[in-house]
């Protein structure tokens, strides 16, 4: 591939102030190759790809596309050269329809120069089908769930007919079956000669889909390898630079009394909302000290259940019972839930968890403010002390408490959301995809923290679309399908395939996964 490299980046260097984000990086991508890029947050993956996609224009080194030296003055140049990037932060306009988003800036026109909506809808539908999703292209993107939005960005990128496609954690919000479909799309693109850079934190995916993998650490390339030949432990070691004993800390603490009992919970929304799956008969229990997983495909109703328990689901009639420590409760909203001892770490920390341009201090204490003073007056020393104590406990990596929370890496931002909730001293913690977009080191720390919290008697209800996480972290996993609980497994004696089979329903298993059952 030395001669025929589609992309050749050599001697790439980039410095942000005192931080060397990239140093003498050599990176090649062949036509029809899927090249995985690994590394912790801050390792330089994003910088490298921003350089390739024209986002960053002042760097050292040179880039060749199909043998010709190029220098981009902006993303438009890169797109003209056939390079498209799917950002981790979804760049979609919520109020516009799926089709409008896909064709944004290059709308199809009728002969009268008006927008040809019908043709756009038709082509968008075809594109979506190609990416393996069944979505009405006329629906506003803001109505879609995060995972569906991710699929729309992928469809959009494919529609650009790019020669080089950069995917930054494309599967972070996808369910297992959607990931499978995405991989089918990737294989098809590969066959047609598209080069793909695949950034991910999920080792299993890389082994499945990538031809080659390169690990970055501190802005430098550590190793390049065949992903099918190296074990996860070896890769992780290369990424973090030291051996990692175990990813998951298995909490062996004996579980205590029943903390939460949900009995046949049904929510009938006042008006139906597309894409929402309200609880339609869910029963489960969480004991104190127990971590219970919530498994299910996208649209199975995991988020909706957590929202109902936290009192933030849109109004409707509710039947069934929610019992917390033997007392029936009717969660009315976050304040009420927090007062009862229920905390929530929401799905999208940037949109719902944090005020990114406020300080770490302000973000950590906002839920527990009355505790740091009297008569509505804040005692600064007390809130600082609480914030610092929490930062220590979470092993938060930060400069000063005054720094904006948005300057932290994804994993550390997530720790701040955790800290905010923990300062309210909850008895039950509801977690919605707590490790999405979080690097592997921070992931391990969040798992360690969960184990520690459970050891102290906290009950945890953890919704996740990562099966290894559910198996590795939870004591028990409840599987939801179409708003109902359909199965419950002890993780000690079941595996990922059990969860998957239950989540998809028996009949679907053979279609989608094929063999293992």
């Amino acid at each position: 591939m030395a001669e025929s490299a589609l992309v050749r980046m050599s001697g790439i260097g980039k410095r942000y102030g005192g931080v060397q984000a990239c140093h003498e990086v050599e990176f090649t991508l062949g036509a029809g190759e899927v090249h995985a890029l690994l590394g912790e947050n801050g390792a330089g993956k994003s910088t490298l790809m921003k350089i390739l996609s024209g986002d960053v224009t002042d760097y050292d080194g040179r880039i060749e596309i199909a043998g010709e030296a190029v220098s981009f003055n902006g993303p438009t140049d890169a797109q003209a050269a056939g390079i498209a990037m799917i950002h981790q932060e979804l760049d979609l306009v919520p109020a516009l329809s799926v089709a409008d988003n896909i064709f944004l800036g290059r709308e199809l026109r009728t002969p009268y120069r008006t927008v040809d909506r019908r043709r756009m809808d038709r082509e968008a539908r075809a594109l979506l089908e190609r990416s393996g999703v069944n979505l009405d292209p006329r629906r506003p993107v803001g109505e879609l769930r995060v995972g569906e939005q991710q699929l729309v960005t992928i469809a959009k990128a494919i529609s650009l007919d790019a020669r080089v496609l950069i995917m930054d954690e494309p599967t972070s919000a996808l369910t297992t079956s959607e990931v499978e479909r995405l991989f089918a799309v990737i294989r098809e693109l590969r066959r047609s000669g598209v080069g793909i850079v695949y950034i991910s934190h999920r080792m299993e995916e890389i082994a499945q889909v990538a031809d080659r993998a390169t690990v970055l650490r501190n802005g430098q390339i550590v190793t390049s390898f065949d992903p099918r030949k190296l074990s996860t432990a070896e890769v992780v070691e290369a990424m973090v630079g030291r051996p990692v004993q175990t990813m998951f800390s298995t909490p062996d603490a004996p579980t205590g009394d029943e903390l939460l009992r949900v009995e046949d919970l049904v929510v009938k929304p006042r008006r139906p909302r597309p894409g929402r799956r309200d609880p339609d008969g869910i029963s489960l229990t969480v004991r104190s000290g127990e971590i219970v997983g919530l498994c299910g495909l996208l649209g199975a109703g995991r988020t909706e259940l957590l929202e109902t328990l936290y009192g933030v689901a849109p109004g409707g009639t509710r039947s069934g019972r929610i019992v917390l420590q033997g007392k029936e409760i009717r969660p009315r909203g976050p304040r009420h839930a927090l007062a009862q001892g229920i905390g929530l770490v929401p799905e999208d920390r940037r949109a719902s968890g944090l005020v990114l341009f406020h300080s770490i201090l302000a973000n950590t204490v906002v839920s527990s403010l009355p505790a740091y003073g009297r008569l509505g007056v804040i005692a600064r020393r007390m809130e600082r002390a609480a914030s610092i104590r929490m930062a220590d406990r979470l092993r938060l990596k930060f400069g000063r408490l005054q720094d904006d929370v948005g300057t932290l890496s994804g994993g550390n931002q997530q720790k701040v959301v955790f800290g905010k909730m923990l300062l309210t001293e909850p008895k039950l913690l509801l977690l919605d995809e707590p490790t999405r977009g979080v690097d592997i080191g921070a992931k391990a720390e969040i798992y360690r923290l969960l184990g520690e919290l459970a050891g102290q008697g906290l009950g945890v209800l953890l919704a996740s679309s990562e099966l290894p996480e559910l198996i590795g972290v939870c004591d028990r996993v409840v599987v939801l399908r179409d708003g109902r609980d359909v199965a419950s497994f002890r993780t000690a004696d079941s595996g990922e395939s059990d969860l998957l089979a239950a989540a998809m329903g028996e009949s679907a298993v053979f279609e989608e996964v094929g063999g293992p059952q």
């Binding site: 968890g353 804040i378 007390m382 923990l422």
Partner: protein, 344 residues
């Protein structure tokens, strides 16, 4: 959870003491520097008489701050509203309503000083709270709610005063306002500081302190910064919004009282366009219209900056239309400067 208690005996603080506060200190200074620059320019361009710089004369400076005090009081309330990502267009009309109310109650209804003031301020407070409820509970954008509020307050003022300005005469007889009220227009501290300025200063300092130390202010900034996150964090978003609009209404009414005493009348047409001057002061002061960042100190500097600018242009007999033009350019310049500020 045992180590998460709220009784830290000693703060084990490896982090050095930063001056802190939710608002970044950097752009709080921007408007102060702007004020200094305009101040220096005012000295340079001020006309002189017998070598004395007119701008710097005690009388003139007192006039500058006196002219600023009403807009300043309103702008403090406006800062609160803009900090939560809202806007209040009704403040000018509420000022008019309060001015009319003060005049009608004290002159025509022969009410005493205190009851009149309390009722007028209460009207502003309730009016603001109602607007807050409409925006927080029904979910109408504050722009729309307060646009309607503007019309309603103006209409109420016209009805209450029969569409006429009510002149205020002071004395103890019927149809005369209590002379205590006249005191509000006087000067204090050896005739140096006009009382309206003192009121403005007290309001501003109270607001600065309140935003620094209160738990409420953290909630306020959080609502403006990311309303969804604030709600999920257990911040009482609806209560915060209602309170903020109530405060803004209260301060607009207070400015109306000050207005009535300074002009010795209450007219239903008082305060037209004041909302825009107040918003200008807030914007120049570096508060983001998107909410979540900004400070009252900046707003005070912004209001003073506009006051100094008006004053020095007037001293130089510059045409009032040109004054408008220059004010407009200053607002754009201030906003542009904030865009240039390095992103956090």
């Amino acid at each position: 959870m045992t180590d998460v208690q709220d009784k830290p005996a000693v703060a084990p603080t490896p982090v050095e003491k930063a001056s802190g506060g939710v608002a970044a200190t950097l752009f709080r200074f921007q408007s102060v520097f702007g004020l200094l620059a305009v101040f220096v320019a005012a000295i340079i361009f001020s006309p002189r008489r017998d070598g004395e710089i007119l701008f710097l004369s005690a009388d003139n400076l007192a006039n500058v701050v006196r002219a600023v005090s009403e807009i300043g009081i309103i702008a403090v309330g406006m800062t609160f509203v803009i900090l939560i990502g809202g806007i209040d267009l009704s403040v000018g009309a509420v000022l008019g309503l309060a001015a009319v109310g003060s005049a009608v109650l004290m002159v025509e209804s022969d009410w005493g000083f205190l009851p009149s003031i309390v009722v007028v301020l209460a009207i502003g407070l309730v009016f603001g709270a109602l607007q807050g409820m409409a925006t927080a509970m029904i979910g109408i954008q504050s722009f729309i709610v307060t646009l309607a509020g503007l019309q309603i307050a103006r209409g109420l003022a016209r009805i209450w005063s029969d569409g006429q300005g009510v002149a205020i005469a002071y004395g103890d007889g019927p149809n005369e306002a209590p002379s205590t009220f006249a005191l509000l227009g006087e000067r204090t501290f050896g005739g140096l500081v006009p009382i309206p300025v003192l009121i403005f200063a007290v309001v501003a300092i109270a607001a600065v302190v309140f935003l620094r130390i209160s738990a409420f202010s953290r909630h306020l900034y959080a609502v403006g910064g990311n309303e969804k996150a604030a709600r999920l964090s257990g911040v009482p978003v609806i209560r915060v919004k209602i309170a903020v609009f109530a405060i803004c209404g209260l301060l607009a009414a207070l400015a109306g009282v000050v207005h009535a005493v300074q002009l010795n009348q209450g007219s239903p047409n008082d305060g037209i366009g004041y909302e825009l001057d107040a918003i200008a002061a807030v914007v120049i002061g570096g508060t983001s219209l998107a909410g979540g960042r900004g400070s009252v100190a900046g707003t005070v500097a912004g209001a003073l900056l506009l006051g100094v600018l008006n004053n020095v242009l007037a001293l130089n007999n510059i045409d009032s239309n040109i004054q408008l033009l220059i004010k407009g350019l200053v607002i754009v310049a201030a906003a542009a400067l904030q865009r240039l500020r390095p992103a956090s």
